[in-house]
């Protein structure tokens, strides 16, 4: 009776007794076409429950003991995980074993390989590690497909097979996603915005006899804006497409540094114009900025089957985001163009500030300053 009564005390200290962590394993699978690569991390403590690892019973597990148990472990793992596609198994192999450290202890890291008969539309994952032995065990799955991103799931060993759809998003979905990404990237890409603003800042002014004065009417201002924006758009669209389609490649650090340099030159040009036709500058440096956008898109990846659509949507998104900035900045500049505040405060001080920031970026990107 007394022994049984002890059980209740667990509840009394339930808050304090949540020590250690329950058993988690990490299963990561990457699909490319019909082949699956991945790894499976399992706590050594859990493996010791499944297979006798401590051959010399000294309660210490050595790397040699783990290696000696590898064949037995592999056969346990292969019976605890099954991948199927279109009702055909994707035969699984464990090709290597390493170890990895987690904050709650050391894990074994098994390298997995599988191949399905054809590129699967969906994947059935039957996860049974520690099934019936520790029903509170969970497998944390990260399933990555080229073009469709990563999906995650928590797999219970007694939960039966789970089906994961692998289809790339529909073209319509892709258009919506990439349009939004395009808008977002120009808004958070401060160097692109500052380059554009630096070029647009004098659009409501003109340089005559060594000084800047306000333009008289709207027409010349709009022509200036139109010229700069169109040239920038055409230029970066060209290089964005070329780079994303893999026809041209420039190292990222060069592009980033050159973009910073372009911001610097555009800002300095507002103090004492070397080049009056700013659209030429927009065209020339726009080619560089296109490579910058391409790097972003490269990290996002283009969805299979909708590559061109997504590329166009991203580009249109960039133009829309850019247009929103122009529509906000230009009318404001036009209204206050005659004021001393604009001609000195904004043009001189603003351009100097932009130039300073550009120098800072440049030093950072060529590695002189720590990022």
């Amino acid at each position: 009776m007394m022994r049984a009564l002890l059980l209740v005390l667990m509840a009394l200290v339930s808050g304090a007794s949540q020590a250690h962590r329950p058993s988690d394993a990490y299963l990561s699978l990457e699909l490319e076409g019909a082949s699956v690569q991945g790894h499976w991390e399992i706590a050594l403590r859990d493996l010791a429950v499944l297979v006798e690892l401590d051959a010399d019973h000294d309660q210490q597990l050595s790397w040699g003991e783990l290696r000696a148990a590898q064949p037995a472990l592999v056969s346990v793992l292969l019976s605890a995980l099954e991948l199927r596609s279109a009702d055909a198994p994707c035969p699984l192999a464990v090709t290597d074993m390493m170890v990895n450290d987690h904050s709650d202890g050391r894990y074994a890291w098994f390298v997995l390989q599988a191949s399905c008969a054809q590129a699967p539309q969906h994947l059935d994952v039957d996860y049974r590690l520690l099934a019936g032995i520790d029903p509170t065990h969970r497998g944390m799955l990260a399933l990555t497909t080229t073009g469709a991103g990563t999906q995650t799931a928590v797999l219970a060993p007694d939960g039966g097979p789970r089906r994961f759809g692998l289809e790339a998003p529909s073209p319509l979905q892709a258009v919506r996603d990439y349009l939004r990404e395009g808008v977002w990237h120009i808004w958070i890409g401060y160097d692109h915005i500052l380059f554009l603003l630096a070029l647009l800042l004098p659009a409501v002014l003109r340089y005559r006899h060594g000084t800047w004065e306000a333009v008289d009417g709207l027409r010349p201002a709009l022509w200036n804006v139109f010229g700069v924006v169109t040239a920038f758009t055409i230029a970066h669209s060209i290089t964005l497409s070329l780079a994303v389609l893999g026809w041209v490649y420039l190292p990222g650090v060069w592009v980033e540094s050159a973009i910073a340099l372009s911001v610097l030159i555009a800002a300095l040009n507002n103090l004492r114009p070397l080049l009056r036709a700013r659209w030429v500058m927009a065209l020339a440096f726009g080619l560089l900025h296109g490579f910058g956008f391409a790097a972003v898109l490269g990290e996002l990846g283009l969805p299979d089957g909708a590559r061109l659509v997504a590329l166009v949507a991203f580009n249109v998104g960039v133009e829309l985001g850019q247009m929103a900035i122009v529509l906000m900045a230009v009318p404001l500049a036009y209204v206050v163009r005659r004021s001393l505040f604009y001609r000195v405060g904004v043009r001189v001080v603003g351009s100097l500030a932009v130039a300073g920031l550009a120098v800072f970026w440049l030093l950072q990107r060529i590695g002189v300053l720590a990022a």
């Binding site: 049984a4 002890l6 007794s17 988690d24 429950v49 990237h185 958070i188 972003v296």
Partner: protein, 384 residues
Amino acid sequence: MAAQARSYCPRLMRGLFFVALLSVTAIQAAPYRPTSDAEILTRLPQRSAAPRPQQGHALSEEQAARLARIFIERARSNGDPRELGYAQGVLAPWWQAEEPPDAIRLLRATLKQSRHDFNGALVDLQQLLERRPDDAQAWLTQATVLRVLGRYQEAADACAALQGRAAAFVAALCSAAVHGLSGGLQTAAAQLDELRPQLAAQSAGVAAWYYAERVEMAERSGNQALTAELYKAALAAYPGDQGLLASYADWLLDRGRAAEVLQLISADEPADALLLRRALALHAVDDPQFDLLNTRVLDTFAAGHRRGEALHLREEARYRLALGDDAEALKLATANWAIQHEPWDARLLLRAAQAAGQPAVAEVVRQWQAATGFEDVRLAESAR
């Protein structure tokens, strides 16, 4: 977060991402191949004296119940939730059963309770008690679950049912503990003091339970001298008791005696619940060791979130509150209060609401306090 930032703006975020990457690799380095077969990878828990975790299908009811009891007892002593998983494993053939054998239903209720499935546990206990009204363990477990839920009237009834069915000491302790939570703090403390001479005759588990109840009453009365004395006596008798160690550390932290917590809980302590208190003590004294331990504590919380579990809400709320993340602490404390109503939970929600500048959120605690008669001088301190 870092990965997301990366995909959204590489130029802007690269620096940030790199920093984030470093902090991740601190805990999740790349896999590696040990250079020598002799390299020791880990210590394994001693299993020679214990049964091997196994599937329950081949076991008889008696064997399964016996093994489950052993695993639960081990979980109690070492605080390792994997043992609870093994207990559930041997009970698996009966886990979903409508009418499991009585002994297995009781163990199932205990395990559900430990996973914070309080309602599931109560259903099992109710059905068991309808069949076996003399099962003292079932009454005691029921009283415990009802207490955690703050349902003191029903808990008092369950304790009353222990009269004549369990040892007189246990029945009296159960009743006094519930009475002490629901308006009778001073009389309950006096009742426990009367029981104290019988303490020497009790088993270790029951005696540690007695101390836990008595010391908490002293804390709720604001009697610091008595609290200190009781902790000293309790820890001298049961130096390894995790529950006592944890609540003693909490009391020390509340009194600004972080240095003593660092003495109490060493750096190689395996239990996460105690390490969390060590981390808070390191934070309080501005010790550089804090950063590393903080990473580990946060990683533990993250693992719980990944599993979708709410077992660590109280601990995480309390941790974030101590570190000044008030908004997050209030969110967690509110979610925790929806699940359990122990003194800690009430204090936590009040403090978090106060810290976040939203005292109205803790109105539920004050209403509950008015309805139950729950007394705790620390609640008044928190509300100030």
